[in-house]
């Protein structure tokens, strides 16, 4: 085999190696920024513990700090932290009395489920509404959809959450107020999944509504732009029916900017999850982070931030791959 042939054969492997190296670089960068950012905030875990206990002697505080390693200079703490990150050791949460990785792994599925559900909802419903609005551009349907989208766009997430709880849980009593499952019922198998599904509806919708508004507007705008393109005129001149043109030619091409937007919004969806998890007492990473912040549980907080950033980076790669799949002009490299 020629040298060129060999290189071409190895190329996919080399490409992935490059990509992994990039990921590692990004993750370490994020870890560094997180570490110093959190140390800018005044106070530490020892102070909070002392505050909770009502009072503490300086000796006790010093002992606590020594135990947590907080008495050492910042650069040593950072060096240790970085070493731990590289060995995938996220440390120990002294407040919760459990390893950080264990805590995160416990909570991660709930957050992942919430995010996936709300993204799917926002994407599917948003694209559908935007599609309708673009098909009926300038008509009443378009106006109504645009007004609704603007409303969702402008309303704060937590407020929507509270209102949805009041309407669907309190007045109508259709859906549970919060939590992830009806613990006392002790469901198994399908019944359990259905139960979680019922609990999932309100938080997923709440988190998704804001992004739904964005996708609606984006789909409408990019479809209208594509309606003006030459290849749409070609399709019309072939005698293709309007509905088929809208789906096969217009929507198919309009998906590209939507997928780009999806990649950019993942971070903000994760950020929004903190609020929504709090409102709906959803046992996910967001609430864990919220608690860790107030308890100055820096180890836990750093671990959560790191895990979230890895999640965002990984999903972004998935989006890149989807892009290569959706648009034949894009070469994945």
């Amino acid at each position: 085999m020629s040298a060129v042939g060999l290189i071409q054969r190895l190329a996919p492997g080399v490409r992935w190696a490059r990509r992994l190296a990039q990921i590692a670089f990004i993750v370490i960068g994020i870890a560094t920024v997180n570490f110093f950012l959190l140390h800018l905030a005044p106070g530490d875990a020892a102070e909070v513990m002392a505050g909770e206990a009502g009072a503490a002697t300086p000796e006790f505080m010093a002992a606590l700090r020594e135990q947590f390693g907080l008495d050492q200079p910042l650069y040593i703490q950072f060096g240790k932290y970085l070493g731990n990150v590289l060995t995938l050791n996220l440390g120990y949460s002294f407040r919760q009395g459990l390893p950080v990785s264990r805590l995160i792994l416990d909570r991660l599925p709930a957050t992942a489920l919430l995010m996936a559900a709300s993204i799917t909802f926002a994407l599917v419903a948003g694209a559908a509404l935007g599609f309708l609005a673009a098909r009926r551009a300038g008509h009443l349907t378009d106006t109504i959809i645009s007004v609704i989208a603007l409303l969702f766009y402008a309303t704060p997430v937590f407020w929507i959450g509270v209102v949805l709880i009041v309407i669907f849980s309190v007045w109508l009593d259709w859906l549970p107020v919060g939590g992830m499952a009806t613990i006392e019922a002790g469901y198994q198998g399908t019944a359990y999944a259905l139960d979680v599904g019922r609990h999932l509806v309100l938080p997923a919708v709440t988190l998704g509504l804001f992004h739904l508004a964005i996708y609606t507007r984006l789909t409408r705008a990019s479809m209208l732009q594509i309606y003006g393109q030459d290849f749409v005129r070609t399709a019309v001149a072939k005698g293709v029916a309007p509905g088929r043109i809208a789906v096969r030619h217009v929507l198919r091409n309009a998906l590209l900017p939507i997928v780009t937007m999806l990649g950019m919004q993942l971070g903000s969806i994760l950020g929004g999850a903190i609020l929504v998890e709090t409102v709906f007492s959803w046992p996910g990473l967001g609430r864990l982070a919220f608690e860790a912040l107030f308890q100055r549980d820096l180890n836990l907080l750093l671990g959560i931030l790191l895990a979230s950033s890895i999640l965002v980076v990984v999903v972004n790669i998935a989006v890149d791959l989807a892009y290569g799949f959706l648009d034949p002009r894009v070469e994945i490299s």
Partner: protein, 543 residues
């Protein structure tokens, strides 16, 4: 004569109120018989494209029919419902549009786009559709139909894409094919092939062809009959022979006269003019795309030439030949990899951009697209004065000089206060020239400066450039794909192919006795044999 396939009778198309004229088309009557090609010719704004769009019922919303009929094989199309019209499109009328680059859906395979024509009209079953699609791809002369069928549009060249468009238009064997400037975006050699293909298919299928074009060369290649439109009014109609060789209407005569001849004018005497611009062994390689399997493209490969004061050197070639890259490299808008560039005695190739900056005024550029190359948010006077101000001329003086420059290029000095969108294409190109000349350059690089203009405007801009050259002693590097324009404009011509200059000769010699096979192929592909007789006789007389 048999019953016409297409019969347009007293058609008027109304423009919305507030337009520059009430009707886009005014009582237009045309007819095309089976197996006949009618060319509708006109400049931009003549309404020729709207005629085509009206026929397939794709008029823009603002334009509506205001009287007359369009009958296809006896059936009135204007009275049809949208649903009935949809059945006519594709099945009875096939359409080929101008831009092969954008007229195909970028995310759909060629196969699916052609097969969609059958699907839309519920013809054939899925398996036969694919089989027929492959037959069509072979019929329009594409190699390896199976591979083409599975390709996406971006993997094909412009000419290949236009063949796919033709295959699509032919799919259901329509009675009428509408071709709206189908070869305008293509290279001359590709254009010649596509015209030949269209003509062969027309004969084979006995199709009527409505061919919209602005190019009389193309008309002479393909038309049986010609209709000339001016501002929406039919000024002349007749057989190709009659309209091209014995035009009756003054406008037709003017249009024909404005088509640049392939016979170069008598060479001008440059005397002992010194070299103003010298390029030696210029090279530029673009690294290919893709990780680890890049295929480098040599856009300029050992390019050398000298231009004397007052001389115009033409750089001709097809798209991808590297002519524009050379044009940009010599101005260092793109950094060349190797070679020497000398303006007068000053070598500019090895200067840093900062060191080069004060010398920039000595070499200036006129761009191709007069619509995109002027900042839409700045007044014309400021656009022209910007260069001198950057070179240290006091603002007040630069703005005053800008008005003088506008006078020099044949515009009113008072238009300095207006914005680019208020001008026509030709006027904008004058502004572009004024902008370049405001810096009093010695060398002017003109990159396809008249390609976006109508033929009558083209002639004016070329005359202006020649006049300015005479007055200012400019050395001009004239980049063009149009051999007619090159024949009229250039003293010497360099022919480029794949980054190399394959032939460099005085214009008259190049046209009379082309040395390189590629030059001969280019010359043969220039549409418009009707100009050849006088071309040959002229040289016969000279020899």
């Amino acid at each position: 004569m048999s019953l016409p396939i297409l019969e347009i009778d007293a058609l008027s198309l109304a423009l919305p109120t507030g337009s520059d004229r009430p009707f886009a088309i005014e009582s237009l009557s045309l007819h095309i018989g089976a197996g006949e090609t009618l060319c509708v010719v006109g400049e931009s704004g003549s309404g020729k494209s709207l005629t085509a769009l009206a026929t397939i019922g794709l008029l823009p919303k603002a334009v509506r029919p205001a009287g007359g009929t369009i009958r296809l094989a006896g059936r009135d199309l204007l009275g049809l419902s949208e649903r009935a019209m949809r059945d006519v499109r594709g099945r009875e009328i096939g359409t080929i549009f101008q831009e092969p680059m954008t007229s195909l859906n970028p995310v759909m395979r060629v196969r699916d786009q052609i097969a969609e024509a059958f699907q839309a009209h519920r013809v054939l079953d899925a398996k036969r559709r694919i089989a027929r699609t492959l037959e069509l791809i072979a019929e329009v002369g594409l190699p390896d139909p199976a591979a083409i069928a599975g390709a996406y549009p971006h993997e094909l060249s412009g000419g290949q894409r236009q063949r796919v468009m033709i295959a699509m238009a032919l799919a259901l064997e329509p009675k009428l094919i509408i071709a709206d400037e189908p070869t305008t975006a293509l290279d001359v050699t590709t254009q010649a092939q596509i015209l030949k293909l269209l003509d062969a298919l027309r004969k084979k299928h006995d199709t009527a062809v409505l061919f919209i074009t602005h190019d009389f060369g193309v008309v002479s290649e393909i038309a049986d009959r010609v209709a000339v439109l001016q501002h929406g009014i039919l000024v002349e109609q007749g057989s190709a022979e009659q309209v091209l060789h014995h035009p009756q209407d003054a406008y037709t005569k003017r249009l024909l006269a404005a088509v640049p001849s392939l016979v170069p004018p008598a060479p001008k005497d440059l005397g002992e003019a010194p070299a103003a611009f010298r390029v030696d062994d210029l090279s530029k390689t673009y690294p290919g795309r893709g990780f680890l399997r890049r295929r480098a493209v040599k856009a300029a490969d050992g390019v050398s030439f000298v231009i004397r004061r007052g001389e115009t050197l033409g750089l001709v070639g097809e798209s991808g030949s590297g002519k524009s890259t050379v044009g940009r490299c010599v101005m260092r808008l793109i950094e060349p990899d190797a070679g020497a560039i000398l303006i007068g005695d000053a070598s500019i190739r090895e200067l840093t951009q900062r060191q080069f900056q004060p010398l920039r005024r000595r070499v200036q550029m006129v761009f191709q697209d007069p619509f995109a190359s002027l900042n839409p948010r700045r007044r014309v006077g400021h656009i022209i004065a910007e260069g001198p101000i950057a070179q240290g001329v006091p603002r007040r003086k630069a703005l005053a000089d800008a008005r003088t420059m506008l006078g020099l290029v044949g515009l009113q000095p008072t238009v300095a206060e207006r914005y680019p969108h208020e001008f026509s294409g030709g006027q904008r190109q004058r502004i572009g020239i004024a902008r370049a000349l405001a810096l009093q350059p010695e060398v002017l690089v003109a990159d396809e400066p008249v390609s976006a203009l109508d033929v009558s405007v083209q002639a004016q801009i070329l005359a202006l450039l020649q006049d300015l050259q005479k007055r200012l002693g400019l050395a001009i590097l004239f980049v063009t794909h149009d051999l007619r324009v090159a024949a009229q404009m250039c003293d010497r011509i360099a022919v480029m192919q794949k980054g190399r200059i394959v032939e460099l000769q005085p214009t008259a010699d190049l046209f009379r006795a082309p040395q390189h096979a590629y030059t001969r192929a280019l010359l043969d592909a220039v549409p418009g044999r009707f100009l050849r007789p006088d071309f040959d006789t002229c040289f016969a007389a000279a020899e």
